[in-house]
Symmetry: C2
Subunit: 405 residues, 2 copies
C-alpha cells in the first residue's frame, strides 16, 4: 500500500460503484463501431441530461491531436453536454483530422439536441492512419439511443486500447454541513504514461453544483497531484485529455471537500494506470521527504521514478540505492549528500550518503511485494512528494517492439 | 553506416593501431589487482615518459565521484604524468572515498617519480561499496614496472566493466604543412550512457605539442560533438570522465587538424560504446536536418533518440513515425508540423506531417540493418545534428534487473 494512492480510507469519502455514471444525471454507453479491427468496443459516449459546467486539461505535446484542440475550445466555452470517445485510432497527423473531430462532435450533438461546441471529443489509438469517421457516424445513433444510467462499465470498456482492465472509481463526498455529492470517473492508458499527462484519457463527472472557474481549478489541482505524478515510460502522448463535467443536480458542496473527492478519484484511477502499465509486475511509490520545497521534492522524485536503471532494479527486487543516488544527482536539484537517507520497502540501505549494512535477502524479499515504497529523506525541510511508477520489464520492451504502426 | 560516426574515411586522417599507446612517448599496462571478484583485469595505468599537458571533462551529476573531483584538480593544474584507472568499484558514496582516491594517485606518483597532483584517477564499477585500496596499492608496483609502448590493448581490457569488447581508436593526423601527430584513445561504458557524459571513461593521448588551454578547448569540443550525442539509457553516471594527455613529442600541428583527429577518435569510440550498449542489437543515428538552430536540432534529435517507445520500435524494426513525432513534440522546441519529413532507413514515411504510403515489408527489412539512419527534416533552416542510440531490448532490462548491488 502506497500512502495517498490507490483504494484506501479517506475521511468524508465513501467509495461507491458506477464509475462515470455514479453521479446522478449522467448516462453512458459503449459500443463497437468497427474502428478497431479486433471487433472490440471502440466508441463511448458520456452524457449529462442537461448542460454541464466543463473543465479540461490536455496534452502539452507540441504535436497535439485535433481532438485536444477541440476540447480546449469546448472547455473555454464553459458548457458541455457530452463526451464522445473513440479508441483504436488517435486521429493525429492525418490530413482530415480536424474535419473528422468536428464531424464526431456534430454527429453526437445532433442526436442529443445540443450544439457541436458542447461536445468534448477524445480519440486514442494509432497515429497517422486516417480515422474511418463514417463508421463512427453510423454507430452513433445506436449508441446514443442506448445511453443508460448504468453504462459506466460499458463506456470504460470501449475507451481501452492496450489496457488489460477497465479503470473506474467513484466516491460519495460529504462536507461538514452534511451536504453530499458524488464524484466518479473512468480512465484509460497504460503506455506513453509520463508526468504532464500521458496517452491518458480521463473523464470525471459530478452532480455537485460548481462554477466553471472553480471546476477548472479543482481539476487542474487534482491532475497535478495525481496524473502528473505517475510515469510508465517517460513519453507524453499527443492526445492526453482529462475532462470533468458537473451537472449541479446534487446542489452545492464545500469546494475543498469536492476537491478531495476529485483528488481521490484521480489518485485511484492513476494508481490503476500504473498498475496496468505495459508489462508491469510491481508498483513503486518514490517518496521524497524533508525537501526544502515541493518543487525540489517533485523533481527528485520524478528523476528517480523515471530512471530506466532504477526501474530495472525494481523489477529485480534489488534495493540498488547507488542507482537511486545517481538518478537524484541528475535531477538538477541541489542537495547535501551527507543528509541523505534512503529506505527501500522499509529497509534503510543508505544513511548520510553512504552504505548501511543490511540483510540482502530480507531487503530483496521486501522489494518483491506488489507495491513498494522507496523513501528518500533529504533532511532539508518539510515538503514531500510521491511519484508513482512501475518496474521496467522485458515484456514492456517486447510489447512495444511488436505493437506496430 | 551512419554519417560522421564509426570508422570511415576522413581527409588528412589515417587509422593506425595501438589505441592509447599509438602516439609516441606513451606507455600503458593492464593487470589484475583483485578488486573484481571475477579475477579479470581491473587496474590500468597510462603514462607519458615526461610531463604532459592535460585536459579533462567530468560528470555533471551532482553526486560526483571523488575521482572526478580529483581529476578536475589535476586538469586545473595543467600538467599530468599518468592516468590510473580501476574497474569493479566506483569508489562513490563510501566513507573513505576521497582518501582512497588520493592514495591511488600517491601510489602511482611515487612509482613514477611524479607528484600525486600529476596523476589522473578514474574508478568505475559498483557504487557504495568501500574500495579495497590495499589491493590496488599492492598491484601498482608490478603494473608500473610492466608499462609498455604496446600496452594499449591491456589497458583497454582492464578498464572494462560490463563491456563485451575493448574500445580503442587511433589516427595519424597530417596538416596542410605536412606536419604529423598521432591521436589515440580508449573508452569503456555500455550502460548509464546519456548525453552530458555517461558511465563512460575515456582516455586520449597525443604526441602533438598543444598549449593547455587549447587542449581543453579541443577536448570539450570533441566530447560535445560525440560522447554528449550518444544515449543508451538516459542515465548519467557519477563517475564519467574524459581525459586527454599531450606530451609534445611530435611537435606542433595545426590546431584545427588536431581537433579533427580528436573528434575522429571520440566519434569512433562513442560509436563503439553505443554498439556495445547493454542488450543492443542495432545502432541508430537520429539525424535532424534543416533546423533553424543547432540547439533546436540537438534537442529534437536527443528527445527522439532517448524515447523508450522509439527505441522499442527500433528493436522491432518498425518505422513507427507516430512515436517519432510524439517524441519530437516533447522536445520543448517549436516546429511546424506541416514542414516535417521523416525518413527511416531510406524510406520516407511522413511528409508535411502526415503519412506517406510506403511498403511496410520493404521498410521493415531496411530497418532490420545493424545500422539505421532516421532523418527528420524540419524544413526550417540549415543546421543539423545526429544523436546516436541503440535499440531497447528485453535483454537490456533482464541484464539490469539482475546486475545487483
Amino acid at each position: 500500500m502506497i500512502a495517498g494512492w490507490g483504494p484506501q480510507h479517506r475521511d468524508g469519502l465513501r467509495p461507491v460503484p458506477g464509475g462515470v455514471t455514479a453521479a446522478r444525471g449522467f448516462d453512458a454507453v459503449g459500443v463497437t463501431s468497427g474502428v478497431k479491427a479486433s471487433g472490440r468496443p471502440d466508441l463511448a459516449v458520456v452524457a449529462g441530461r442537461d448542460r454541464c459546467a466543463v473543465a479540461a486539461v490536455t496534452t502539452t505535446n507540441l504535436v497535439k491531436a485535433s481532438s485536444c484542440r477541440w476540447t480546449d475550445n469546448v472547455a473555454a466555452g464553459g458548457l458541455a453536454r457530452a463526451i464522445v470517445v473513440n479508441s483504436g485510432n488517435a486521429n493525429v497527423c492525418t490530413p482530415d483530422g480536424e474535419a473528422h473531430t468536428r464531424r464526431m462532435a456534430e454527429a453526437t450533438a445532433s442526436l442529443l439536441g445540443a450544439a457541436p461546441e458542447e461536445v468534448v471529443v477524445m480519440s486514442t489509438g494509432v497515429i497517422g492512419v486516417p480515422l474511418p469517421i463514417e463508421l463512427i457516424e453510423t454507430a452513433l445513433p445506436t449508441a446514443v439511443a442506448a445511453l443508460a444510467p448504468d453504462g459506466g462499465e460499458a463506456a470504460a470498456t470501449a475507451i481501452m486500447t492496450t489496457d488489460t482492465r477497465t479503470k473506474q472509481a467513484a466516491f460519495e463526498v460529504t462536507d461538514a454541513a452534511g451536504r453530499r455529492c458524488v464524484v466518479g470517473g473512468m480512465a484509460k492508458g497504460v503506455g506513453m504514461i509520463e508526468p504532464t499527462m500521458a496517452t491518458l484519457l480521463v473523464a470525471i463527472t459530478t452532480d455537485a453544483a460548481v462554477p466553471v472557474d472553480a471546476l477548472q481549478q479543482v481539476l487542474v489541482s487534482a491532475v497535478n497531484a495525481t496524473f502528473n505524478r505517475i510515469s510508465v515510460d517517460g513519453d507524453r502522448s499527443t492526445s492526453d485529455t482529462a475532462v470533468m463535467l458537473a451537472n449541479g443536480n446534487g446542489g452545492e458542496i464545500d469546494l475543498d471537500m469536492l476537491e478531495r473527492g476529485v483528488h481521490a478519484v484521480c489518485a485511484e484511477l492513476a494508481h490503476m494506470v500504473v498498475a496496468d502499465g505495459e508489462g508491469a509486475t510491481r508498483v513503486a511509490g518514490v517518496r521524497v521527504t524533508s525537501a526544502a520545497s515541493a518543487a525540489d521534492a517533485e523533481r527528485i522524485s520524478r528523476a528517480v521514478a523515471t530512471s530506466l536503471l532504477v526501474r530495472a532494479a525494481l523489477h529485480g527486487a534489488d534495493p540498488n540505492w547507488g542507482r537511486i543516488l545517481m538518478a537524484m544527482g541528475n535531477a538538477g536539484v541541489d542537495f547535501d549528500l551527507a543528509n541523505i537517507e534512503v529506505t527501500c520497502a522499509g529497509v534503510t540501505v543508505c544513511r548520510a550518503g553512504v552504505a548501511v549494512p543490511f540483510d540482502a535477502e530480507v531487503a530483496s524479499a521486501a522489494m518483491s511485494a506488489e507495491e513498494v515504497e522507496i523513501v528518500i529523506d533529504l533532511g532539508a525541510g518539510d515538503e514531500s512528494v510521491t511519484t508513482l511508477t512501475c518496474d521496467l520489464t522485458p515484456e514492456y520492451v517486447s510489447f512495444n517492439a511488436d505493437y506496430t504502426t
